[in-house]
């Protein structure tokens, strides 16, 4: 047992911090919350790519750095701590690259991974559908094989940052004649194919958070299939574990946490109020436990295992923490808490306002808390299925 980071890891953390602080000093971007999913900045992504920090864990032969998952967690922890606009590359770096590495053909690896690593390929996620949320396997979007290509018809929804993405990951039905889990396949396709249209979904904060994506007779070359046809469910399960497991589930609102601590420090009356002190200390206690959950996920990935229950636990716990963080922050800010980012008199740049509203979705995206608790109960504790 050893809770220390290695000297190299501490050095790496500092390197990332210095880079991000340098960017902030230059005024290249303003820190924001949910920056991993809301702040799209292709130029920032290219500068991160130039540092070699996209595909950090992927093998060197494909342009990666061959480093461990724990190092990537350090990197992402710092990105989120600084609220850096990393959304363009986040999904591809977190889960799509890994899928290509595990299930892709040699040609796909040689072609797609370098594009992601260079910060040029941004992949939106096409999983959920209007009638397939928690019950993802009941999705209806069809990919029908026709000679040397597939024809896609259907609709995806809740695709984050859809308008910024130039590629889509797609889970579609390739065999409607078998049980629902058995007829699915994975694809990665360019987003500008004929027949793809998108429509924005505005979230509770007023931002365009997601897109609906419509597919009408979209011809997709068969080379876009990832892995084996009809093996998509098995493949995506592992991807979901990675989707759930990152530091973004605990650090996405760190600027709010830091902001409210600073706000209280600067207000003597609040700072001496033991109730306020204890509220913040309680958040800190919960935050530190969540951080240990996250680090454990990284260690499990480095053992070569998909962090199935560990990621489910850390996400279910940490998103609930982030909801408490937002609610407590608003409570401390009092009436100021309800002022939007652009409002006169707003505090913490309106980040807490945004955080509170968007936190209602944290326990829904990438597996609802209920689905995650099912995973813990059924797969970790071995309780009988209902």
């Amino acid at each position: 047992m050893d809770f220390r980071l290695t000297e190299e890891q501490e050095k790496f953390r500092k390197e990332v911090r210095d880079f991000l602080e340098g960017e902030r000093k230059q005024g290249l971007w303003e820190p924001s919350i949910d920056s991993w999913i809301m702040a799209y900045d292709p130029e920032f992504t290219k500068r991160v790519a130039a540092k070699g920090w996209i595909g950090l864990t992927w093998p060197k032969e494909y342009g990666g750095q061959g480093r461990c998952a724990f190092d990537r967690f350090i990197l992402t922890e710092e990105m989120l701590r600084h609220g850096a606009p990393a959304a363009c590359h986040w999904f591809a770096d977190r889960q799509i690259g890994g899928s290509i590495l595990k299930y892709g053909t040699e040609q796909q690896k040689r072609e797609l991974l370098p594009k992601i690593i260079k910060g040029e390929m941004y992949v939106g996620l096409g999983m959920s559908e209007p009638e397939a949320g928690c019950d993802l396997a009941s999705l209806k979007t069809q990919a029908t094989k026709k000679n040397d290509h597939y024809v896609i018809n259907g609709q995806k929804t809740w695709t984050s940052g859809g308008k910024h993405m130039n590629h889509l990951y797609l889970l579609a039905r390739t065999d409607p004649g078998v049980a629902k889990h058995q007829g699915l396949s994975e694809f990665i396709i360019p987003k500008d194919l004929a027949g793809i249209t998108t429509s924005p979904i505005i979230d509770i904060t007023g931002n365009e958070a997601w897109n609906e994506v419509f597919f009408e007779n979209v011809d997709v070359p068969k080379e876009c299939l990832i892995g084996k046809e009809n093996n998509g469910w098995r493949q995506v399960m592992e991807q979901l574990a990675h989707e759930r497991s990152g530091m973004e589930r605990i650090m996405a609102n760190y600027p709010v946490f830091e902001g409210i601590i600073q706000f209280v420090k600067e207000n003597k009356q609040l700072c001496q109020d033991s109730i306020i002190r204890h509220k913040l200390a309680q958040l800190k206690i919960e935050f530190e436990v969540a951080r240990l959950f996250m680090y454990r996920v990284a260690l499990v990935i480095d053992e070569g295992r998909a962090p199935e229950w560990e990621a489910a636990m850390s996400k279910a716990y940490a998103t609930a923490f982030e909801q408490r963080l937002a609610a407590t922050t608003l409570e401390i800010l009092g009436p100021y808490g309800q002022l939007a980012p652009q409002s006169k008199w707003t505090k913490l740049n309106g980040m807490a306002y945004h955080s509170y509203l968007s936190s209602k979705g944290y326990s829904l995206q990438a597996g609802t808390t209920e689905v995650l608790k099912n995973i813990l109960a059924l797969r970790k504790l071995g309780l009988p299925a209902g």
Binding site: I261, R296, Y317, L376, A377, L381, G382
Partner: protein
Amino acid sequence: MDLSFTEEQEILRKFARDFFTSKLPKKLLKELEETEPGYSPEIWKEMAELGWMGLPFPEKYGGTGMTFTDLAVLLEEMGKACMPGPYFSTVVLGGFPILDIGTEAQKQEYLPQIAQGKTIFTLALTEPSGSYDAASIKAKAVPEGDGWVISGTKLFVPDAHVADYIICVVRTDDKSKPEDSLTTFIVEAKQSGIGQTVLNAMSGKLCEVVFDKVKVPKENILGQLNQGWNDIKRSIDRAIVAKCCYMVGITQQVLDMTVDYAKERKQFGRPIGSFQIIQHYCADMLTDVEGMRLSTYQAAWKLSEGLPCAEEVAIARAWAVQAGERVIGLAHQIHGAIGVAIEYDLHYYTRSLKACELSFSGTDVYREIVAQGMGL
């Protein structure tokens, strides 16, 4: 970072689990609770022979020279078994202060006795105020001739009724600030002037100890004169984390028992564990136990490495107390009425968990430590 246990720790865990499972059936636990000492001297002797009394002490003092993290593993298993007896009092509350702040002569004299299982120690800190701060200590020692004379009442002293020695923190100066006016003494427990009364407590044996002009030679000062509070702090941190280790073991066993029960107990023609609400209760319990284990071992490891860890200790403690209460609450809810029946085993864990939670300060104190660490 490495969260895995060493092979040695895994062997220790398995051995301890097997040992307690075979030696300490719940029927015996019930019998022991009703005896005057409250534990089995035979099992105590066997544990000493296994080297467990001296586990964290250096070999030159008769110990096995293992680490505090190793000890944490054993304590966790003791919690899982609800093991009664003065192990915590002797090894953690007695042994560590001697190891941490004792003179070489004191270490040579007392640690081998502890390691051999021949001597039982405890620590008398709290008083009728029920507080764990320096200002609340009113018991006094005044110099007399070549030594000191102690008078006062200590309360909630674990296992004092069977102790051979009591480490006692008392006031030796009325003028300085509370933290700089206390001294720690090693006091022979079975001498005239000391009266122990066992209290009727929820779990374990807690005592009132009255010191009526008890003479103590000056060689028995542990640490520095008037610096007893500051000196013993690290040992208290160890004790707090040790209690967290018990709580990890207790709640793990409670979770295991509850999951087993939910798999077996049928209502409406199906195991209650197939109902989603019960599954989610169990998932919440698992998360709490895992959080407890990670934060506890983080603190234990830092203590083991001699690193500063006030904040980690406070986080482990605050989390364990809060999470422990949630875990036991859900365990009872899932067990239904049988969980509160004396014929069923759950009450051993409910009671000993609460006793752990009520040793040392409540969560407010630890939240305040965390708040200060945040610069508030």
